[in-house]
């Protein structure tokens, strides 16, 4: 009897809370849909352009957001240094494809260009993966049993250290990456071209995500990750090397940041030591929006935020304009944390179940 009473109380609360939030959410959603629809009708070209721009950036944010979610899923730690790992990845890619090493240009022959881009991706992945795993080894491992605040502050500290590494390496001003992606149109909707450089982002991101899902769901290492995330001590009792599994998780998250960094540098053709801070925070917001620890949620949240950013930046009719975009994104973070802290798809299910 006693146990029944105690379980029924939180259940009632759980029922009550969405009831208060639902009308507000419906109203907001309705307004947003109306605004989007009105824009689509009035200036379709603007709408398409910003849709493409937002979806492309959303995919990139997704790659980074997954890095936050993977690490959170296994350690319940927000790895604030993750965005800066991404930033260093973008610098690595810039250095590698540019005059410093490969000297690729838009005029390079395809059989030089594409192997060069693939090599840049792989090198950036290896670099960021190793960097991220080293950060865990040096800064977080010894704090694993410490109070939550200690590794969190350490993560913020690591973020500043990496930012300064970027600053020392490339200087305070944004650096440009050689523009080597082809800009020809693949197809045109409503007068707006969908270019090969935008397709490049999709062509790299989607297979990477598919590979990640396969890795987490089907492989031995992936299953060890999920088991460790669900019950670290039980995982150790089953013979899983927990330290190695956590290292592997950081390696994987870092490699994804490396992919994102390379794609970002090539697509945006510039980067700076501050890029990681801003992009990292946006990706983190995306991960929280989707449900931190939840991998499909991270991608969903990132797509929504990318689109929102695109529309808020560039739509013609009653858009807030780019000076308000970040305010809107972080207002969303606050609204989610208040109304639905577990995110759209729910918290902490790295396997997406």
């Amino acid at each position: 009897m006693a146990t029944q009473a105690s379980t029924s109380i939180p259940r009632l609360r759980a029922l009550k809370r969405p009831n208060a939030a639902v009308p507000i959410a419906v109203l907001l959603l309705g307004l947003i849909l109306f605004w989007l629809g009105e824009n689509l009708v009035r200036t379709p070209a603007d709408f398409y352009q910003n849709f493409v721009y937002g979806a492309t950036n959303g995919l990139l944010y997704g790659l980074i957001a997954i890095g936050y979610s993977l690490v959170y899923g296994i350690l319940e730690l927000i790895n604030f240094a993750h965005g800066d790992v991404f930033m260093l990845g973008s610098m690595m890619a810039t250095t590698f494809v540019g005059v410093t090493i490969l000297g690729l240009t838009a005029g390079s022959a395809w059989y030089v260009l594409w192997p060069g881009i693939i090599a840049a991706l792989l090198i950036s992945m290896a670099f960021c993966g190793t960097l991220n795993a080293s950060i865990e080894r040096v800064a977080y491992r010894r704090l694993r049993t410490a109070p939550r605040l200690a590794p969190l502050i350490t993560a913020i500290g690591m973020s500043f250290i990496l930012q300064n590494v970027g600053l020392v390496w490339k200087g305070p001003r944004p650096i440009s990456t050689v523009d080597i992606l082809p800009h020809g149109a693949i197809f045109t909707i409503g007068g707006v071209a969908y270019t090969w450089s935008e397709f490049f982002v999709v062509a790299v991101t989607l297979p990477t995500l598919a590979l990640l899902v396969w890795l987490v769901q089907r492989t031995r290492h992936g299953k060890a990750m999920r088991a460790t995330a669900q019950d670290r001590e039980a995982a150790a009792m089953m013979g899983i090397d927990v330290d190695r599994t956590i290292s592997f998780t950081f390696l994987l998250a870092g490699a994804l940041a490396g992919v994102a960094g390379t794609v970002f540098a090539l697509y945006n053709t510039n980067t700076s030591f501050l890029t990681g801070f801003r992009t990292g925070l946006i990706a983190f917001t995306a991960a929280v929006l989707g449900g931190i620890g939840n991998l499909p949620g991270a991608v969903l949240g990132a797509m929504l935020i990318g689109l929102l950013e695109g529309f808020s930046d560039g739509l013609a009719w009653h858009a807030l304009g780019s000076q308000w975009t970040e305010a809107v994104i972080f207002a969303i973070l606050i609204i989610i944390l208040v109304l639905r802290p577990e995110g759209l798809l729910g918290e902490r299910t790295p396997e997406g179940g």
């Binding site: 001590e233 150790a236 089953m238 013979g239 396997e351």
Partner: protein, 244 residues
Amino acid sequence: MSTAVATRTVLEVEGIDAFYGTIQALRGVSIEVHEGEVVTLIGANGAGKSSTLRAINGVLHPRRGKIRFEGEDITRADPHDIVKRGIAQSPEGRRLFPRMTVVENLEMGAFQRKDKAEIREDMDRVFELFPRLQERRDQKAGTMSGGEQQMCAIGRAMMARPKLLLLDEPSLGLAPIFVERIFEIVEQINKQGVSILLVEQNALMALDAADRGYVLETGRVVLADDAKALMGNEQVRKTYLGED
């Protein structure tokens, strides 16, 4: 069941002290498990039964004392290494991976093994022992009933093909019909040559299934004897078998 005088010693725990922070959980605990034996640890809540298993499993490193498995010192070994050597545990509270399926949980039990064909065979054997698990093979472990979860936890430990199986409270919170079934299975597993160290609150069932037993009180071994003798011991009858 055998009297274990002549057989080989599989596990030797020698005077271990273990702590949680500053609280001492074990005070000079010494126990032995011989090949093919079922040994039980009985005692009240907080007597140190689970802590002893955790120390053997490498999750809780003792400050003093030695643990030897098949003659080799494993006192400071990592849990994954200890599993590899042949000790598997079905932990207290079952500790299944709730969002993994039954099959995936069983696979995790065999994590240290590389022999795929034999792993499949062992999984079939677990399904033979627990037909219920076969029916639920693709169900998330967290959604099953307590009894089914307990079967899964024991099955998962079996998947490591252990030489020594540690069972922590396998009957806790189960309906009587499941309790009996679980003890039948423990006997069956033992007959296949696996030594078993069994921790139980249900002292009567445990002593009935065991060859020998240790009684723990506040982190110390206070009694050690044949299971039959312990069942006849007046103090044990009073304290743990609920007789006046």
